[in-house]
């Protein structure tokens, strides 16, 4: 069963083409990694997938349903969650408050104007589990602006998992993390339930080849190669535009 399918995505910014003729699909359980040099249009593609940016043309199907014209929050309710490359948390709120916002996001309780947000004990327990998983429980009462960058990055991912997504988009999950933190994040992604589809944008080659079962290479907004990790490593065009830049790092 397919989780997401996109057809002929096209987006330009004032004549500069950011995404052109991008089509692919990811099945349930799929682990797609999108790579490409800086400026290849990876983040734009993510913004098109989750609806943050309107498409110029093309179509997006989520679990078989045409969501091309659905706003962001409605896609979230259909199982799509997304992390951001530039950390996108709520800086004045505490770690736990951030988590509670994410936990309430898909529930009716998000409209409750009277009950204390922390009084939902099942949600609190779930938040505790998630924060503990990322080693953040001890920081639960700290404001976001007081915790380290690495911790913010981990929370960024933890918030995505709060909604039990069926399709997870991770925008550079390993950026700015130390080697050991990177291991934590990789383990976490590896341990995701098999019925979740995951699309990852990242530069870290260990992560890319360690997690992907398919890879797409973007260059100037177009797909120049798609295939299994082995196929991508052997692909001559990829070596030319991408691996050449990161000489020697291409072998996982």
């Amino acid at each position: 069963m397919e989780a997401i399918r996109v057809e002929g995505l096209y987006k330009s910014f004032g004549g500069v083409v950011a995404t052109s003729n991008v089509s692919f699909k990811v099945d349930v359980g799929g682990r797609l990694v999108i790579i490409g040099p800086n400026g290849a249009g990876k983040s734009t593609l993510f913004n098109l997938l989750n609806g943050q940016l309107p498409l110029d043309s093309g179509k997006v199907f989520l679990f078989g349903e045409d969501v091309t014209h659905l706003p962001l929050h409605k896609r979230a309710h259909r199982g799509m969650a997304r992390s951001f490359q530039l950390t996108s948390l709520f800086p004045e709120l505490t770690v736990m408050d951030n988590m509670m916002l994410a936990l309430h996001g898909l529930r009716k309780s998000r409209f409750n104007p009277f009950r204390r947000t922390g009084s939902y004990s099942t949600l609190r327990d779930k938040g505790k589990d998630l924060l503990s998983l990322f080693d953040l429980w001890s920081k639960r009462d700290e404001q976001i602006k007081m915790i380290s960058y690495g911790e913010q990055r981990k929370l960024e991912i933890a918030l995505c998992l709060a909604s039990n997504p069926r399709l997870l988009l991770l925008d550079e999950p390993s950026a700015g993390l130390t080697t050991s933190e990177r291991q934590v994040v990789m383990e976490m992604i590896r341990n995701l339930p098999p019925d979740i589809a995951v699309i990852i944008v990242d530069h870290d080659m260990d992560l890319v080849f360690g997690l992907a079962n398919r890879i797409i290479v973007l260059h100037f907004g177009q797909i120049i190669a798609e295939g299994t990790p082995e196929e991508i490593q052997a692909h001559p065009k990829v070596k030319e535009v991408y691996m050449g830049i990161e000489e020697g790092n291409g072998n996982a």
């Binding site: 989750n50 943050q52 706003p71 962001l72 929050h73 979230a76 309710h77 969650a81 997304r82 951001f84 996108s88 948390l89 709520f90 800086p91 004045e92 709120l93 408050d97 509670m100 916002l101 994410a102 309430h104 996001g105 898909l106 309780s109 998000r110 409209f111 409750n112 104007p113 009277f114 009950r115 204390r116 947000t117 939902y120 918030l159 909604s163």
Partner: protein, 323 residues
Amino acid sequence: MNQRLSTAVPYLIAVVILVALPLVLQSYYLSVATMILIFGLFAMSLNVIFGHTGLNSLGHAAFFGTAGYVTGIAIVTYGVKSFWTSAPLGILGAAVTAAIFGIIALRVSGVYFLLVTFALGQLLWTVAEKWNSVTMGRSGFVGIPAPDLGLSFLDLESPVGFYYFVFVVFSVCYYLMARLHRSPFGYALQGIRERESRMRALGYNVWLYKYIAYIVAAVFAGMGGILYAHFNGSIAPSHVGFSTSALGMLMVILGGAGVLWGPVLGAALIILLQGFASLLVPARWPLILGALFVIGVMGFRGGIGLHMVKTVRRVFSRGSNQG
């Protein structure tokens, strides 16, 4: 438990003081205290959208004034006697106005939202001033009696009785807004203030939240306007327009948007100073208000309430093991 106690104690002290005030204050000062509660309610309602949601509205008096006018017109022109009918009508007036204004104003954000709300407020101000047959025009709508609650043992015509009435309404509204602030809905508003795009990605319909918050804020502002109309016996075009909107904003900024009772503190400061200034140097009030605002913004960023909280925390943490 300890934390619960430490948050409850200041509130208990405040309640005791507010209940005891009529015993010590002469009627003039009691009317000042009544004003503070009314405008404290108004400033708090503005803070629901201004401080919590991050929408800078410069037209909030539109709801304060509209509710005041509607309630006054209902009582005086149409002979609605009971407060339990006239007040809901006034609140409905504020809510409907907000429902219409919100659709227009929430199409834009930031400084444009400020300008659109300002323009809409001025529009209503013009209506209030020109529609003589309904609003009695420039001089304001007069002759609004004390509220009739249908409870004969309550004398709301006396300053003391009316003060307690305002105190009860204020307390109920304060409690509801405090609950709102700590609820999932209230946190969603704060999340929207901090990062709209993330809220959308988490599944929140940001526009709907802003719209509901705008109407909720209008309802509480309307409650303030209704109290004011009864208190003053009249309501004027200026209570719909810029001057009252701006005053509310000054109260929020001066008292502190980040603290729940900050706007009430701001209202108290401004109304007390206004009272003294009107006795001593009536012509210089705008000058004093301006200077106060500059000092407040330069010297107490985040509001005086926030600085008070920080100071108290510093004093108390010195004595405890938390350092």
